[in-house]
Each structure stands twice: as C-alpha cells, then as structure tokens.
C-alpha cells in the first residue's frame, strides 16, 4: 500500500484507485503521518514546501552534505540535521537517491575517457597533500601540506 501512497503523491496512480485508497487507508491513524511524510518530501523536492520557513533548505542542505559513494554504498548512521518527527529511513532513502542521481551527473563516463600520462606538473595537489599529511617523517613536508597550495 505504501507504493500506492507514493504513486498518489507523484501523480502516477489511476483515478479509479484513488477513491478506494483514500477510503481504506486515510482513516488509519498511523497512515496520516506516513501521508504527511510523502507529501512533505514531494514538496521539498519540488521546492514547493511552505510549512516551515527554513525546513526545505535544511533538508536540501542535509542532502547536499551527504557524501555519495558510487560503489559499495551503505547508508550513514545519521544526517547533519536532526528532525525528530520525521521518518528518517524514508528521508534518507530519498536523500540517497537524489544524491546518487546528482553525483551521477558529476562523474566521468568511463567509456569516453582517455587517460593521460602522469607528470609532475599535473600531480593532483589534494592527493599529495593528503599523502604527506598522513605519512611524512619530516616536519616541513608534514606542516606545509594544508589545503593552501604554495
């Protein structure tokens, strides 16, 4: 039934199913809160949420903050923002889908990539900084590997 609820809010349900769905499900107390979750998330994703002045921003910020790994994903234990009255699993699910879709736009299509020869001048600074910050035995390499590129 939850799939039908979700379809309803995404305008993907048949008209004939609407009436039976509402009459059978909306009367149940626990379903009211679930309907509220779906409705809120839909509105937030569409930037139409107006229930709280900054809730929409908080949710979108939390989604933005949630790092994405393209392989071997397992969800983080908690997000940066804490909302007690929300079903976290549901929000997290949306966040993950959204973040993966967003991240997918940022990664290279592996079939069209031509690697180039590694040269000193193009050695990634972030990699060298991370390496020396964690492994250096000499203070000068260790200290001067902050994010500032000298």
């Amino acid at each position: 039934m939850t799939e039908k609820n979700s379809s309803l809010f995404d305008n993907e349900i048949n008209e004939e199913d609407i009436e039976s769905l509402i009459s059978s499900e909306i009367k149940k107390p626990n379903m009211r809160s679930q309907w509220f979750y779906y409705q809120t998330i839909r509105d937030v994703v569409r930037s139409e949420y107006s229930g709280s002045s900054n809730l929409s921003k908080k949710i979108m910020d939390a989604i933005d903050e949630e790092p994405t790994q393209m392989r071997g994903y397992s969800p983080a234990k908690e997000l940066a923002v804490n909302f007690n009255f929300y079903n976290w699993q549901l929000i997290l699910g949306f966040a993950v889908l959204f973040a993966i879709a967003f991240a997918g736009l940022n990664i290279q299509n592996k079939n069209t990539v031509t690697p180039v020869q590694l040269v000193y001048e193009e050695m990634p600074v972030d990699i060298m900084n991370a390496h020396f910050a964690n492994t250096s035995s000499t203070a000068n390499y260790f200290v001067q590997t902050t994010f500032v590129d000298n």
Binding site: T68, Q69, N134, S137, T138, N140, F142, Q144
Partner: protein, 315 residues
C-alpha cells in the same frame, strides 16, 4: 706497548653496542623510548631532494603525556603543537593563519611509532662507526631492507640518550633521498609548559580549516590483493572530494618505517585520469585508471612497491 694496544682494542669492542647488548635490537627500542620520554629542545635541518629547511623542536613529557612544538624557521613561519594524540597545525599564509587538526605523526626524531618486532622482520640491523653530531657522540645504526620494496634507513643515535640526532634514507644505490640532522640540541632544559603555546599575531586573521577528512560510514568496495609484505593498513579514510559531493578512499599502509598511500577516487567530469609512474626525491607515484576510478599509490618506497599495489586493486 703491544699489551697497551691490545687493551685499547678490547676496550673499543666493549663499547660497541652489539657486544654490550645481548639483544642488538634493544638499541632501537631504547631509541623509540628516548624520543617519547626525553625533554629536549633543538634545531635540525631537513633535506628532501634539493630543498633544505631548518626546524626548531621542543619536546617534553609531563606526567604520561607528550608535548611537542615544532616551528619551521625557513619560509612560512608555520608551527605544530601536539599534545598526546592531538596535533594542531598553524599554517601562516599571507595575513591569515589556517588552523588545522591532524592525526598523530611519526616525525623525526620520533620516527619509531609501532612495534619494533614488525620492523625486525623486514630490515637487517647493523652498527657503523661512532661519529660526532651536534657536538655529541653518536653510534651509527643501519636498517637495511631484506627485499627491494623499501628503502634503507641509517640513524645516528646519541650515545648517552639513544635519541636519533641524524637520520638518512637512501635507495639501493646508496643515494641519499632524504635526511634530517640536528645541529644543536639541549636536554633537560625544558622544565615547564610555558613554551607550549602558538606564536599568535593579533593582526592576523585566524581560520579553522574544517575541510578535513570526516568519518563517513561507507563500505570499502575495493580490495588490494598485493600489499607489499610487512605493510599493514594503519589508516583508512573516506573523504569528500573538493567541489563535488562524491567520496574518495585513502588507505595508508606501513611496515613501521616506510609509508604508502593508496587512493581510490571516482574521476570527475572533465577530469582526465592519470596513468603511469613518477619519481621525485624519495617519493614514487604510480597511477592507473580502472572502471571509472583513479587508482593512485604514493610512497617513500621504491617504484616497484607502489606499482605492484595499484595493479592489484580490484572491485
């Protein structure tokens, strides 16, 4: 005269640590302990390739906790303050000071962090001559690798305290790749913690660099099948990549002396992945492009070690 010469020769042998100590590796254990427990203040020169830097270090043990302050005397007036496992860097750049938290380190002269037994398996220990460093007599101790996957280390250990006053890292051709040597050191002059404070300039703007690796609960999706013998993973970090909301993996392996970083990062749109090898100073880099990911290993180890490592990554 003949007997006097013989007596002098015998006295020289007695002074040699190899004969004086039933366990020759005991000298490395004393060296490790000395770098953790002694109170000292000194200036040493570090050389990486053509680059030379002077560094001032103050170290003290108060109670059971170690306190260290390191000041770079050349170039940017950066400094490091560490208390126990907490390390903070004050990186001075233009009119700003960027404050950054770091992990516990193994900086000279506190080179030995782990178990000496692990180092024993992959390095041969030998003793060299006695030499004078920073006005003090030292004993040269060499750690020569048993295979071709790590560099050789030589230490000039203070005969009185066992603290390393000089360290040289060299390759199989005995070419010096990196070295640090004290030119001035004083013991037991540090009695309080008044010195344990950063050099603050009220005119500077202080920024906290919180763009450090966060603990992110994500599974490792790859594995390295050919980690060089004796190297163990000592750190695994999942961090956000700059500019995009993707994470990359950074694994650090060590045999107790040498370190290798392995990076597994998704290739960003517009970014060209790197392949091939690169060497500079003591550092070797090997890169490979695999299934949309940049696999790169960086280490103060021979090229063979980093190349074998990246070639064995699979997912």
């Amino acid at each position: 005269m003949k007997y006097i010469s013989l007596l002098l020769f015998l006295l020289t042998l007695v002074k040699t640590p190899l004969l004086a100590d039933q366990n020759p590796w005991g000298i490395i254990e004393r060296c490790q302990k000395a770098s953790q427990t002694l109170n000292y203040k000194g200036i040493y020169i570090s050389q990486n390739g053509q680059e030379l830097k002077s560094v001032e270090i103050t170290h003290a043990l108060h109670g059971s906790e170690q306190f260290t302050r390191i000041n770079l005397l050349d170039g940017n007036a950066d400094e490091v303050l560490s208390q126990g496992k907490n390390v903070v860097i004050y990186h001075k750049h233009d009119d700003n000071v960027v404050i950054q938290k770091r992990e516990q380190q193994h900086l000279f002269p506190a080179i030995f962090r782990g178990k000496i037994a692990e180092i024993k398996k992959y390095y041969l220990l030998s003793f060299g001559a006695s030499q004078r460093v920073a006005g003090r007599m030292t004993q040269i101790v060499n750690l020569t690798p048993k295979d071709s996957l790590r560099y050789a280390y030589s230490f000039w250990l203070d005969e009185e305290t066992s603290l390393p006053l000089k360290m040289v890292i060299s390759n199989i051709e005995k070419k010096i790749l990196e070295q640090s040597t004290f030119n001035k050191i004083q013991f037991n002059t540090v009695t309080d913690l008044d010195w344990f404070t950063p050099t603050l300039d009220p005119l500077n703007k202080y920024l906290i660099d919180d763009n450090i690796t966060k603990e992110i609960n994500l599974n490792r999706f790859w594995r390295a099948k050919n980690i060089p013998p004796g190297f163990k993973e000592v750190n695994f970090m999942v961090s956000k990549m700059a500019g995009i909301n993707l994470v990359g993996n950074h694994s650090v392996y060590s045999d107790g002396l040498s370190y290798i970083s392995l990076f597994v990062q998704p290739v960003r749109k517009g970014q060209k992945p790197k392949v091939g090898d690169l060497s500079f100073n003591a550092t070797n880099v090997s890169a490979r492009y695999y299934k949309g990911y940049q696999i790169m290993a960086v280490g103060s180890v021979p090229l063979k070690a980093v190349r074998n490592l990246i070639d064995s990554v699979e997912f």
